[in-house]
Amino acid sequence: MTTVAAKPENKARKKVRVRNVLIAIVILLVVLIDLYPLFFMYSASFKTNNEFVTNPAYAFNQSLHWQNYVDSWTRGNMGVFFTNSLLNTSVSLVFITLFSLTISFALIKMEWKGRKFFSQYFAFGIMVPVATTLIPLFVIYNNSGLYNTRLGLILVYIASAISFSVYLLSGYMRALPDEILEASVIDGCNIYTMMWHIVAPLMKNALITVVVIQFFFKWNDLLYSMTLISSSSLKTMQTGLLYFSDEFGSKNWGAIFASVSISVTPMLLMYLLLNKMVIEGMTAGAIKG
């Protein structure tokens, strides 16, 4: 009796096991696809220029060519570029979250006449691509002295992010129960304390989502910084990385990958430290469409 019953069960178990192995292989592949380029980048950053020509790109290093890092840091100004990128991005992120939080709150929860018009007014900007505003921006900046300044770049980073972030936050804001606001008023909150102590903490996950999305856009910006910045001391990493080509477009691959590594490593460390918050914030928040 037991043998008869056990057979199909064994089969099923075997099936499950095969399935599990297959699943594990798929997961492993996904992880590899995401990790390999990183490994490649670090290995390439220690190769001499000659190695790129005499050996396949995926080959292991023949040398530990530290000089690439020296070149990248001193000649490539990577330290400066990285600081610029980090500064521009983080300062604009602070204001983006601040403005989009207050604006979406005013538009959704507060009671005033023009709010319907202003909702549409702010929504309009979602459809304005970077390229459309570029030429007039250049002229405006040139005439107002904002051209080639850090402030100028940060201002446009903030302005271009407002629409989208307000749109995102509005969804969450609608889902925020009015009763909570009412209760806080009864507890004696004024509008500012309510904003700071009640609304902002409740919107934490939504704000994390905004920050992550906007980080993605600002960190990768090339169009604005290419157009509005000319000094090497103000350039961002993206423009900096395009640098390692001289008069005839020659590329120093080793130094390029050293610079790439320099730019990636701190981000990676920061991300590993913060990833719990980022991923949890984004998943727990789940964007309200």
Binding site: V30, T54, I126, V128, L137, A159, S163, V185, M237
Partner: protein, 293 residues
């Protein structure tokens, strides 16, 4: 309650700073751009002059513009669908397959998002490499006996755009997977259990239960991805510089060159305006799906 929420001064304080920035640096330039379209030459130069609708007339005869538009549309289609669909697949994998090391796997899948796009471009140049040595992709193909598929992926017009889209999908799919995974977690477990008891297979479960529930968020993901892909500039510049020929030259790149290197501000503004219309059209199209039910 409403006394607090009607606080005029607070409303002003909340709205005005953002409003000013947004108006001056986003709305005003759009209008300004529209104004420039009636001028010829380079702004600031002696040739800058009113030419009426000539720039618009030129647009319809410009083969390079048409080519750039086609590139943009194909890129948007491939990349947007690729990013969201692969994101969805990854999210489903997280939810139903990944049992152990879940958070580590999610962390790793998300990480390309933090890489600078230009850096990714340099990286993929080497992955697609064919001369002097095969890069990773070509050596892999050769290694598994598919040597006849070895190809200069970013060097030929028929594959360069696909290679570019593949790179951008790789970069961003982790981002969408996390958003969609969050949405999957929000789906109550008993709905899934009930479906299983009813004898739904995996496909039915996905088609009948998950997809309808995920629809609003999928649409949001499409909007995100669309706004990212419509500008198509950074990654194309880093990987292929618009080449070979004009195979990966997008509208934004064409506009940028027209404005800053060919020095035709007015004509570039027409292209800029067109990109804006493309954006409006795309957003409408995505919203149309939203209203279907």
């Amino acid at each position: 309650m409403s006394r607090v929420l009607r606080d005029r001064r607070a409303i002003l304080l909340f709205i005005v700073p953002g409003f000013i920035l947004y108006t001056v640096l986003v709305i005003l330039p759009v209008l300004w751009s529209a104004y420039y379209t009636f001028f010829g030459g380079m702004i600031g130069s002696s040739k800058w002059s009113f030419i009426g609708l000539d720039n618009y007339a030129r647009l319809f005869q410009d083969k390079k513009f048409a080519a750039a538009l086609m590139v943009n549309v194909r890129y948007i289609a491939m990349t947007t669908f690729g990013q969201v669909i692969f994101g969805l697949l990854l999210a489903l994998m997280f939810k139903f397959w990944v049992k152990r090391f879940g958070s580590s796997v999610r962390t790793i899948v998300f990480f390309p998002v933090v890489l600078p796009v230009v850096a990714v471009g340099q990286l993929f140049t080497k992955i697609y490499e064919i001369q002097p040595y095969y890069g990773l992709l070509n050596s892999l193909l050769q290694g598994v006996g598919l040597g006849n598929l070895v190809y200069p992926w970013i060097g030929k017009a028929d594959t360069a755009l696909i290679a570019l889209a593949a790179m951008d999908i790789w970069t961003a799919m982790g981002f969408y997977s996390i958003i969609l995974y969050g949405a999957l977690l929000d789906i109550p477990g008993d709905i899934l259990e009930a479906a299983e008891i009813d004898g739904c297979n995996a496909w039915q479960l996905f088609r009948r239960i998950l997809l309808p529930l995920l629809r609003p968020i999928l649409l949001t993901c499409f909007v995100f991805s669309f706004t990212g892909t419509v500008k198509m500039f950074e990654s194309a510049l880093a990987l292929t510089r618009g080449g070979p020929g004009t195979a990966t030259t997008s509208l934004s790149m064409y506009m940028y060159n027209t404005a800053f290197s060919f020095q035709k501000t007015g004509y570039a503004s027409v292209i800029a305006l067109f990109i804006f219309l493309l954006c409006v059209f795309g957003a409408r199209l995505i919203r149309a799906f939203d209203r279907k039910d």
